[in-house]
């Protein structure tokens, strides 16, 4: 049986330090794993990290590419609406009451609303407010909730107790009522006040999800192993715990984005959100609702844009989450 036991251990002993550098050329098992899904791939040779590998992977996902293209178009629409339509809906002269509630035609692709304004132009121009509210509220929610959740979950003790109680208080406020209250304080609704109201009410959810994920990750063996190596708190948090707890937050963020855009619509509908003459999808839907049966297109088109945008971000979130999990690659 000697031919199969580990050879190569008969070398003369040196000092412990020196011997570390020497290679024992005697793997007891073939190092190449026949079970690993890929052979030695091209990226085996160069150093890689989670994020660069994720990016490498993302670029090859059709789901990611489709959603990214869609989001680019939407962003462009928000930034430079003039590119998409020559009609300026903010110019009241463009609307003719005589053309009210027309069906889609070559002149008005999406028809006109009850004021006789071009629905396509309004939908395109509405992108900016809807997207800004949705994105900024998502960003604030995710950053605030995520960061506080990370700290609370990682530190535990009184910071956790304090933050959790505060989050619970916000949780207990019914969201519509809460938003109404907050917006009433500001009197005039702008997209920034709407954003603030939404973020204030939504962060506790992200906080709780992050906190739970962090507490789970904190107890994992690899975190203990890193502690045994002497890793600092920051390293533990950002190198080990965050990458392993971020997936659920990404999912919540993409869902939140859709919820926020829809909520902006709801608040505008209730009259405390963005006010006319600003244009947002929410406002358009609210305006078109009473006469939906006579003219559906002023409601359907902004609603379709809203759904498409939300869908694009949810797909993006899914793709990013999968790409950040090496096991799913």
């Amino acid at each position: 049986m000697s031919d199969t036991t580990i050879p190569g251990t008969s070398g003369s002993p040196g000092t412990p330090r020196a011997r570390h550098a020497r290679h024992a050329k005697s793997p007891a098992q073939p190092a190449r794993d026949p079970r690993s899904p890929k052979g030695p791939g091209p990226q085996d040779a160069k150093p890689a990290g989670l994020w660069s590998d994720a990016w490498h992977d993302l670029r090859r996902r059709p789901l990611f590419i489709a959603s990214a293209v869609l989001i680019c178009v939407i962003l462009l629409m928000a930034a430079v609406p003039q590119l998409f339509t020559s009609v300026d809906p903010y110019d009241a002269a463009g609307c003719r009451l005589g053309d009210a509630r027309q069906a889609p035609s070559s002149g008005h692709w999406f028809g006109t609303d009850s004021q006789g304004c071009d629905t396509f132009a309004r939908t395109v121009y509405g992108t900016r407010v809807s997207l800004l509210v949705g994105l900024s509220a998502t960003l604030v929610t995710t950053l605030v909730g995520g960061l506080l959740g990370l700290v609370a979950g990682f530190r535990g003790g009184w910071p956790d107790a304090l933050l959790s109680r505060v989050a619970e208080i916000f949780f207990a406020v019914p969201s519509v009522l809460g938003a109404l209250l907050i917006l009433a304080v500001f009197r005039t609704g702008t997209m920034w006040t709407v954003m603030l109201a939404l973020a204030m009410l939504a962060w506790p959810m992200t906080f709780r999800i992050m906190r739970a994920a962090v507490i789970t990750a904190k107890g994992q063996d690899y975190v203990i192993a890193a502690r045994a190596l002497g890793a600092s708190g920051g390293r533990l948090m950002f190198r080990h715990i965050l990458p392993n707890s971020i997936a659920s937050v990404i999912v919540v963020a993409t869902v939140n984005l859709g919820v926020f855009i829809a909520a902006e619509a709801g608040l505008s509908f209730l009259g405390v959100g963005v006010q006319s003459p600003s244009i947002s999808w929410g406002l358009m839907i609210a305006d078109a609702r009473p006469r939906f049966l006579e003219a559906a297109s002023p409601l359907l088109f902004p609603a379709a844009f809203l759904s498409l945008t939300v869908l694009a971000f949810i797909m993006l979130g899914d793709a990013v989450r999968d790409a950040l999990d090496p096991k799913l690659r």
Partner: protein, 338 residues
Amino acid sequence: MAATGSPILEVRDLVKHFPMTRGVLVRKQIGAIRAVDGVSFDLRRGETLGIVGESGCGKSTLAKLLMGLERPTSGSVRIKGREIADAKESELKRVRRTIQLVMQDPYTSLNPRMTVGDIVGEPYEIHPEAAPKGDRRRRVQALLELVGLNPDHISRYPHQFSGGQRQRIGIARGLALQPEILVCDEPVSALDVSIQAQVINLLARLQRELGLAYVFIAHDLSVVRHISDRVGVMYLGKMVELGRDAEIYGQPAHPYTQALLSAAPVPDPEGRERRRRIVLQGDPPSPASPPSGCRFRTRCWKAQEICAQQEPPLQLRPGTWHESACHFAEVYDAMRSF
């Protein structure tokens, strides 16, 4: 390599109690889990000390205490003469270059979102003085080769490896800082039998080549016997017997050790009908409320009055050549029938 010289690890009267609290706002301590309750031993350079015991005996807490991952309630842990029980974080960090850890579960002890290169190289990022930046990649590859892995797999993720290979990655990480002591907490118990032998042989080879000292914690008596020079047996937070492997396995003096040895199955059916077994009754008591006196007395067939009143210290006893903690210590070859 034979154990030589002065101890590099000295543990004295080590105690760790985990408080049990009740109440949400005002926390009140209602008791304590006495996970480790007065353990002392030495470890010499190049030596392997095996620690055996069943679940709940405190052996994993002991590993954490040795690693400075838990602060002891009292007692002392000295590594190369340096006290770590009450050391500052910065001091502890320096000590970590001397003592490192290999964990049990190769599936949870590696960060799934880091590449193997990052995992094995992380010690150098935490201790930048240990290796110059330009040299780290080469060192990581050398480490992978040392533990029998393909150094080209540096960019792979843990899930692309089998359990045995993952355990090798964990060992490579533990070796990166060139420690002198490796604390192995059940390093092979999650592996299949055929893979277990590979990892045990690897640990043995590394010890010979690098002059490492091991604290080898396991519940598997055969594995511990195979790799250890000396063995300590733990029961409910106490060391009940400590001696050279031949003494513990050949002439156990503590009834618990005898029962443990006699209960361990032997992979040989010859003469099994004649084999006599000490089968203990019941389960170990809770470490939250250990019995008075000797902790083993509730399951011991030798227990008498004195066992409930007086706790037997770990010491040399008449007729034995190694330390045991039993008032009625008596050598009995639990395995003579094998």
